[in-house]
Symmetry: D3
């Protein structure tokens, strides 16, 4: 256990640690998801922050950029996770993946998940890239 | 075979028995789904009523409340079933599950299905609870 | 390898061969999907045309009508593929499946995929059939 | 409603009608599945026979061969259904699909489900074809 | 936050709290899963215990019996989770669900997940019930 | 289009190009999969080699190590792809991912896919690492 992990042990400390990681990776869109849970399931919001980000994401064994590659693969494969793909394609850009690397990862997903899921994920990327003025992407 | 099952054997009888169960559990929203099938696949509507509700749901071996817990778990895990989650979160309330029990079941689903599917289901619950003036829910 | 396959070996030839198959089966809606990829992932568009249609679909071992039956089954089972179901229910009509055969295939899917996915696919069929003035369908 | 449907209305009649369809399509392997349910869930066995086969499969709106094409697509896409693929690849052969059409359908599935699921289904076909002395299959 | 939650804040305390819940619900089979992770991913073992059981399962908002109903639904729907179904059908019996309620829940799952997944789960139940001398189950 | 792509245009050239990539990444285990398809679906084997590896994998836009991270995420999320996870955990090691990075990626997958799929994938890693004398892995 790292010293940082040892020092974040109260429920509140773990939440604050997670919120710093969440903000770094997902930026404003991650925070909005947590806020929108306040009146329906604040505990789900707490666990996403304190556990998913505070306990798992911050671990040093896999770089943030690598975590987003794994995450893009999972969200594409699961299907029906377009809102989460939106957040995580933004996150992927935030941690240093280029638009070309992202579309290449989604092209690669066609081999394992088939064309429909590759298409669904690519159209989410198109929306995110449009919002961030990153179109067109050259995948040649 | 119960006496009730024995007495509902014609196609029409099985349909009517199922419609009584469907109306009890799903209320108006279940009936609307069946109505919307009338011009595209009336037989699918018939089978949902006569088989799913008339043959399976009405069986005494598992209480209606318990059936909704299993159903919430399945619909959350399948993914892409938001319209059916809407119907069955309403049904869950109709058969006696509290809003807190429902959000707790969806928090529990994060352990088995992961955060994205837990989130998708929770946002359907938020919509249903808002329509029925059940917000905020305290999940502490 | 057929003579046709042998003669379409350059990247451009394979694309053109695929575009002929795509246009025959999916019509305008297939072409629109490829066009919408131009600024985000032209290579994904290329592979759908050159590989999926040019290499796989055109193979003589399974009739186009049979391929659409398999495809409807897969898209229904995968879940979350409503945009692709729209394209392929249109394609199914284009290659000779009747509206009744399509709704019957989706009723059949309830046995293997459950009611929610059968319903989701049937409502896409309802939308497509409405656009093509094919409602009501008698499934008796 | 056909006359046949009208005449099979008791629980026992529906079961017997279904058992005739099941035996025709799935042969011995279908019957074994039902038998193996006798001590754990006889009602699930009853519903597979009376509902899935007696009510749905026997409907005249889609030919048995066409139903197997849809079914192969669904079972391949769902994943984790190797035991059911075994039964239904046998069934596909029983209702007139050739080994080449079956492997072509599974090759086609790679486009929509990705290579892993296409491979898993193809290896089940290899096992079934070996048992029935149908190897090698030429897919050229 | 309950007092118990407040008092279990160190990494070690959260682990010990979770191990008590895990042992209560899953018994020996849960512990074996954790042990088998020791040489490959002790941190995954830690998180299953400290987070899944220590943070989520022990929450008072949903009874252990209800959590198992949701869990059986999810594991059946996900597919390919036979090892986890084995653990959780055992857990379901441990927290008070009867064999008949479990088979009834799995029969119910056929409506939402289709027959193949209902069958796969039911055959896991057959194995578990055989090991615990609970066969035959009468589902009439 | 790169010069390499331009020069590999015949069916045979594309196959040979793919076989070089497949051998580099997957080693012997990839080749065995292709060989085992020879008598059941040689065309599926051809497409895996010529298309998946020859057309997609070899593209320079995403490093081999990055492709394996995406692939591990997809195979974990899809479920029921244990044979492919075996091949690709080997591939991940071949292209430079460390055992610790792999187990960390699978721990990360618990957040998005839930514990059962994370566990299933981790136990495949355990088998592969044991075969390659890479146990124990320290994930602290």
């Amino acid at each position: 256990m790292t010293e940082a992990a040892a020092s974040a042990q109260t429920r509140q400390d773990r939440f604050e640690r997670g919120m710093r990681v969440l903000t770094e990776i997902d930026g404003e869109s991650g925070r909005k998801v947590i806020d929108s849970l306040a009146d329906i399931s604040p505990e789900l919001g707490h666990q996403i922050v304190a556990w998913a980000f505070g306990d798992i994401y911050r671990r040093p064994g896999l770089a943030p950029r690598d975590r987003q590659l794994v995450t893009l693969g999972m969200l594409t494969a699961l299907g029906g996770c377009e809102p989460q793909l939106d957040v995580h394609i933004n996150a992927a850009l935030n941690v240093g993946l280029t638009p070309h690397e992202i579309t290449e990862a989604l092209l690669h997903s066609a081999v394992y998940c088939g064309m429909p899921k590759a298409l669904n994920a690519t159209f989410v990327a198109k929306k995110v890239f449009a919002e961030r003025n990153l179109l067109p992407v050259d995948s040649a």
